[in-house]
């Protein structure tokens, strides 16, 4: 069997949650390998968790709306390649509105 990816995502809904938590998802090889982080986020939203919130606009690394933190580094989700182990958090030092969406 080909490698699954382990994706750990920061979750926080200020209207419901007292504090943030992390959810871990296992992603089949064909849903992450050679694909971008935004593809994995979309896959999770479509298949595992419809409540996951993230921004996705131009998808051509121009607008900058999808900036997030992956394994400690700020990246554009529509630009960065997925990795086998990913810890995905909101863009640092910005107020979190929900999950990976921040106030700019």
């Amino acid at each position: 069997m080909k490698d699954e990816a382990t994706v750990r995502i920061f979750r926080f809904d200020p209207m419901v949650d007292k504090q943030p938590r992390y959810e871990t998802y296992r992603i089949a090889h064909e849903a992450w390998y050679g694909l971008k982080v935004i593809d994995v986020l979309r896959y999770i939203y479509q298949n595992f968790d419809s409540g996951l919130s993230f921004r996705e606009t131009c998808c051509q690394h121009i607008c900058g709306g999808c900036i997030i933190t992956v394994n400690g580094k700020p990246v554009l989700a529509c630009e960065a390649l997925s990795e086998k182990e990913m810890s995905i958090e909101p863009f640092a030092n910005h107020q979190v509105l929900k999950d990976l969406i921040v106030e700019f």
Partner: protein, 570 residues
């Protein structure tokens, strides 16, 4: 529920909306801008290429607004509103250079704007914004004005319907995506600047939020839509997975004269366009690539191979050295070396010629409602010309709509908000949240995008269009009743937003299909393989779409022709 009052409400914060709001504020109106995304980080403007067209005549003094006018009308195959285009081409001369004063950087030489020629223009007319993505310069300019004027902008606010009072627009109803709160904005005038509807097609290089919401807002409120059978496609969008839809392929193709091949290694463009070969117009080239795919001769991802291997390696390396296109580095990192390997590319939906019918004041057929930019129709006719006119339209129509709405707002009284409409809309949008299991909005979107791509895009015929219409009816009768939103969250509930969008997208798809069925000819971006010729005696007309008691109705109207008419032989 939150209630807000403003003289002028602008829906859409980017190219056209930004310009409209700035002009309305300059005119002394109180303005509120709302957007379903983030200002400067959503919509199509930020993704614009580096060109913006204005007949300044700096590169060639023979060029002027009249010649620009003629190019636009001929490109639109005479379906444009000539009164509107006449105002816009003149305004382009003043409004485009103004962007520089507002902070956008242009390429200049000896103090003059550089102007380059595109295929549809008689003279070099397209100004070059600095950088690879000209849209970013536009963003700089507009943000500076927003700051200077202290413009009130509400972000993440999805307007779901316009509110009317005795057949005039009185305001709008929306949802704050941040907390699910309903918002009612009471306004004397509303300007729609929400952009196009390219998202209804499987492949599109437009922003993902180009779901055509504004067109449906206007339609549902009773305004006329027009030209919905005309959608523009670009031929050289990247089909490689990591660079999907990147327009940078286009740039590469133009700079390095790439050659197109089908899967059997044939340089097929010679067959379609013998006199142009690989350098044909965008529309015909898109169609040829699409047809090769339909005949089973496309590349694996449904496009064609764009090759640079006919060029010596040192020539390509010299180009890379000189221009430093970051895109080539990105490709190389992904294992694609253009010296050795072709790029898969093909057509993608790019721009809506159709939209809300406006007159030369950017006024819609509904009192107190204006539309500007891609959401409107009338400026482009059957095809928008190449070379950065979309940004020109944003500036010129934004100018017209902003000034007009502000001026009229001084004379108009407030209309009262009809509470019955508000509660009905509240019920409609809330009811979407009630079903947790069923068919998800993205699943319907996917179906719709395939239907539109397969039957109502570059090559259409009666059989295919009727099939498409049947499939849309099936979505309406079988899928829509089961439309669900799995998450109950009121905060950035993507499923809810997508549900609201897909309802709009179904309407727009049906309009495009039925207008395409009706137009039994080929003209501009609309190509019917069963009616491959232009038919001026029958079809020098716009198709108008209106919501009546009985539903979606279609009629025709003569285009506004003033000083330029098709020649007899056409």
């Amino acid at each position: 529920m939150k209630e807000i009052e403003t003289e002028v409400l602008v829906i859409g914060s980017e190219g056209a909306g930004a310009k409209a709001s700035i002009e309305a504020q300059e005119e002394g109106a109180e303005v509120l801008v709302v957007t379903k995304g983030l200002s400067g980080r959503s919509g199509s403007t930020v993704m614009a290429g580096g060109r913006i067209q204005a007949p300044l005549g700096e590169a060639d003094p023979r060029d002027n607004a009249n010649i620009f006018f003629e190019d636009v009308i001929k490109g639109g195959d005479y379906l444009n509103n000539q009164n509107l285009v006449d105002r816009m081409v003149k305004l382009a001369v003043t409004e485009v250079p103004k962007l520089e004063l507002w902070g956008a950087k242009f390429m200049k030489k000896d103090g003059k704007f550089e102007q380059v020629q595109h295929p549809d223009s008689s003279y070099p007319r397209s100004l070059r914004l600095a950088g690879v993505h000209g849209g970013l310069q536009y963003r700089v300019a507009m943000n500076a004005q927003y700051r200077r004027l202290n413009t009130k902008i509400l972000e993440d606010l999805f307007v779901t319907s316009l509110l009317t009072s005795s057949d005039q627009v009185a305001g709008a109803f929306g949802i704050s995506l941040r907390d699910g709160q309903f918002v009612v904005v009471k306004a004397k005038n509303v300007i729609l600047a929400t952009g196009g509807s390219s998202e209804i097609y499987r492949k599109t290089d437009a922003s993902h939020d180009a779901t055509g919401d504004g067109m449906v807002l206007a339609y549902n409120a009773g305004a006329d839509l027009m030209d919905m059978e005309f959608h523009q496609f670009l031929p050289f969008c990247c089909y490689e997975p990591l660079f999907e839809m990147s327009g940078l392929t286009t740039r590469l193709r133009y700079c390095l004269h790439g050659k197109l091949y089908n899967r059997i290694g044939e340089a097929f463009m010679e067959r379609y366009l013998p006199s142009y070969g690989d350098w044909g117009p965008r529309n015909a080239t898109s169609r040829a690539i699409y047809l090769e795919h339909m005949y089973g001769r496309g590349s694996p991802r449904g496009g064609a191979y764009l090759s640079f291997s006919h060029l010596p390696e040192n020539l390509i390396n010299d180009y890379i050295e000189r221009e430093k296109p970051g895109f080539i580095d990105d490709l190389k990192k992904a294992g694609i070396e253009i010296q050795r390997r072709a790029l898969e590319c093909g057509p993608a939906a790019h721009y809506s010629m159709g939209g809300i019918r406006v007159n030369e004041y950017c006024a819609t057929s509904l009192p107190r409602l204006y539309a500007c930019g891609e959401v409107a129709a009338g400026m482009d006719g059957a095809e928008r010309i190449d070379g950065g006119t979309a940004l020109t339209w944003c500036l010129t129509m934004g100018y017209i709509a902003g000034k007009e709405a502000a001026k009229m707002a001084k004379e108009l009284d407030w209309l009262s908000i009809d509470n019955k409409q508000v509660s009905e809309e509240e019920r409609r949008v809330s009811s979407l949240l009630e079903r947790r299991e069923g068919i998800k909005a993205f699943e319907i979107k996917n179906k719709l995008k395939d239907i539109m791509w397969n039957y109502c895009s570059l090559v259409k015929d009666r059989g295919g269009l009727e099939t498409a219409l049947g499939l849309i009816q099936k979505i309406r009768s079988e899928d829509l009743p089961l439309l669900c939103v799995p998450s109950s969250s009121k905060t950035f509930n993507r499923g809810w937003t997508e549900a609201l969008e897909v309802v709009n997208m179904i309407e727009l798809s049906e309009m495009a299909i039925r207008a395409s069925l009706m137009r039994e000819e080929s003209r501009g971006a609309h190509y019917r393989s069963d009616f491959p010729r232009r038919d001026n005696p029958k079809w020098l007309k716009n198709i108008i779409i209106k919501k009546e008691e009985v539903g979606m109705t279609f009629s025709t109207a003569a285009p506004v022709l003033t000083r330029l008419r098709p020649l007899e032989r056409d």
